[in-house]
């Protein structure tokens, strides 16, 4: 099966908003795209549209959270993490308020809308904020479990979601432990760390490479111990991300490695510090090297 992570978010949030009276949902005129429309349908009295005003939406989220609410605030990643950044910093993260920023349409897989809408820096900028936790689920089941998980955490969280359908990696029965990286496949010599839709690409590439595949869905806090062990037990490591090679998964792993004397080199396979462009999602991902095919090519040198 294949499903959009944003769809899974919408379905889960619609379920949670009914169960938990503390939940309030905010959106910025994108309810049908971010899928918070599902929660609005389930509980219209606790869903508010802030209009096309992401900065104020984050400020309102802070005020609601300061009144004891668990706030889910959604927009496209470019606007949620980018435009509203300083409000998230000063009004949400500094006072450590209970706001879950669930940003959809992240990465190049936005496709046709082009570079203005393709967030490639959101994980990096969110990861630098004290008190912020940052997550990137890879499929519908992980998304649903993650949304439930963050709804129970107290404090700011950023969840990165995608626009397009992604193949299932997990099943409805999978038990998730978000404090650990998840080893999906054991291989030899090579380890592929991946986040988001690159997890599926890593799994495909690993067949040909006999590589270990690791889903890193919690970018902050990140499972340092687990990553150190994997670096130790492999000869080469790669970080696969639909994100700029600066600030995201590659940076997170390189930061951990730099504190150790492990010799395993780590290479990035991500967006090479460039903006994306319009095109069908699969064509954009292909052009920018975010495919299993390119992973195999890079690893084989």
């Amino acid at each position: 099966m294949a499903q959009e992570t944003r769809n899974a978010y919408g379905e889960k949030l619609a379920e949670l908003i009914v169960k938990d009276e503390k939940i309030v949902v905010l959106d910025a005129d994108l309810t049908k795209s971010t899928k918070t429309a599902d929660a609005k349908k389930a509980c219209p009295e606790r869903h508010f549209n802030a209009g096309i005003a992401e900065a104020n939406m984050m400020g309102m989220a802070a005020g609601l959270a300061a009144s004891g609410k668990t706030v889910f605030a959604s927009s496209f990643a470019v606007f949620a993490a980018g435009r509203a950044f300083e409000i998230i910093r000063n009004s949400i993260c500094y006072p450590k308020l209970n706001v879950k920023i669930c940003a959809t349409h992240a990465g190049l897989s936005v496709g046709e809308d082009g570079a203005s809408h393709q967030s490639i820096e959101d994980v990096g900028i969110m990861r630098t904020l004290p008190n912020m936790k940052v997550f990137v689920p890879c499929d519908q089941y992980e998304t649903k479990a993650l949304i439930e998980y963050v709804s129970k955490l107290n404090g700011p969280c950023y969840v990165r979601l995608g626009r397009g359908k992604v193949e299932d990696v997990y099943t409805a029965d999978t038990k998730f432990d978000f404090s650990k990286v998840d080893i999906l496949r054991k291989g030899k010599d090579i380890v592929l760390f991946a986040m988001g839709l690159m997890v599926q690409e890593a799994l495909k590439a690993a067949e040909e490479l006999d590589a270990t595949v690791v889903n890193v869905s919690s970018l902050k806090p990140v499972d340092e111990e687990g990553i150190v062990e994997l670096l130790k037990s492999h000869k080469k490591a790669y970080a696969l991300e639909e994100h700029n090679i600066y600030g995201g998964l590659y940076s997170a792993i390189a930061e951990i490695k730099a504190k150790t004397d492990i010799g395993t080199p780590i290479y990035p396979i991500g967006v090479n510090d460039t903006f994306g462009e319009s095109g069908k999602a699969k064509d954009v991902l292909h052009k920018y090297g975010l495919t299993a095919e390119n992973v195999v090519k890079v690893v084989k040198g």
Partner: protein, 271 residues
């Protein structure tokens, strides 16, 4: 409380503002002195806040969106006997009295502020939460006329009017000055009353140093149903200290020893 008593409290607040900024040799005396009367009225007459409900959100709340005027907030909390911290620790290392207010350090600080404009948005969220919780608590936010140049202020007022937040009072503290000079010379945000009206708010004007007018403005805010109230309060930056009044040079500057003595003398004579 009669106006004389309010004046005495406001004077004490002003004396503490000057002392705090002088002790720290850092801070924002001009705007703090300018909003001292409004804050005194809010904390002594308008808001249902006391020692018992201080740590709860189930009470009236105040957001100092112009967070740099923290000396006024700390001084009024002290005057109202709601603050344990020593005012002399203001802006010092390990102090709870941060340069700009932190809600997690001080029970009487209802929102962490400092980045201009954001407090209005937070106040809108709080007022919305009160509506959801079906309580009668009110939310007050104070911001500067210079601060109104931030776009988020107008996004917030648009939302407040759309959601009919008649439990919200946004007070524009109009002293006509900002860091680089007269607000009208810098970028020209006025008239605020017409702008707020156009944003579908209930607009009331008052002299921000006249307790009768301040009282009347808050009364009119309470009487308004179905819309947030914007109070446009005319104030004097540096009010009470002769050489600071209407002088933008005192926005964010501490007095030296000689200036401190003159300031305290001005504030003694005012009584």
């Amino acid at each position: 409380m009669d106006n004389n008593e309010l004046s005495k409290h406001a004077l004490s607040v002003r004396r503490n503002i000057v002392k705090m900024v002088y002790d720290a040799q850092s801070g924002h005396p001009g705007g703090s002195l300018g909003c001292a009367d409004i804050l005194t009225y809010l904390y002594f007459e308008e808001m249902n806040i006391n020692k018992e409900n201080l740590s709860s959100t189930n009470r009236d709340r105040f957001v100092l969106s112009k967070g740099h005027c923290s000396p006024a907030l700390y001084a009024v909390l002290k005057e109202r006997d709601l603050l344990d911290e020593d005012l002399e620790s203001f802006r010092q290392i390990n102090s709870k009295l941060q340069g700009h207010p932190n809600m997690n350090y001080v029970a009487g600080v209802d929102m962490s502020t400092g980045s201009l404009g954001q407090g209005v948005s937070a106040a809108v969220g709080m007022a919305l939460a009160n509506k959801l919780d079906k309580n009668d608590n009110r939310v007050y936010a104070l911001l500067g006329d210079g601060e109104s140049e931030e776009g988020i202020v107008w996004e917030a007022l648009m939302a407040a009017a759309h959601y009919k937040l008649d439990n919200l009072v946004v007070i524009f503290d109009v002293n006509g000055l900002q860091i680089d000079g007269n607000v009208e010379d810098v970028i020209g945000p006025l008239p605020l009353n017409k702008k707020a009206e156009a944003f579908n708010c209930n607009v009331v004007t008052c002299d921000g140093h006249n307790f009768d007018e301040i009282a009347d403005a808050f009364k009119k805010a309470r009487e308004c149903k179905g819309a947030p109230t914007v109070i446009v309060a005319q104030t004097v930056k540096g009010k009470g200290v002769s050489f600071m009044e209407n002088n933008y040079g005192w926005h964010g500057k501490a007095p030296n020893e000689e200036e401190f003595k003159i300031a305290m003398s001005d504030l003694k004579e005012a009584l």
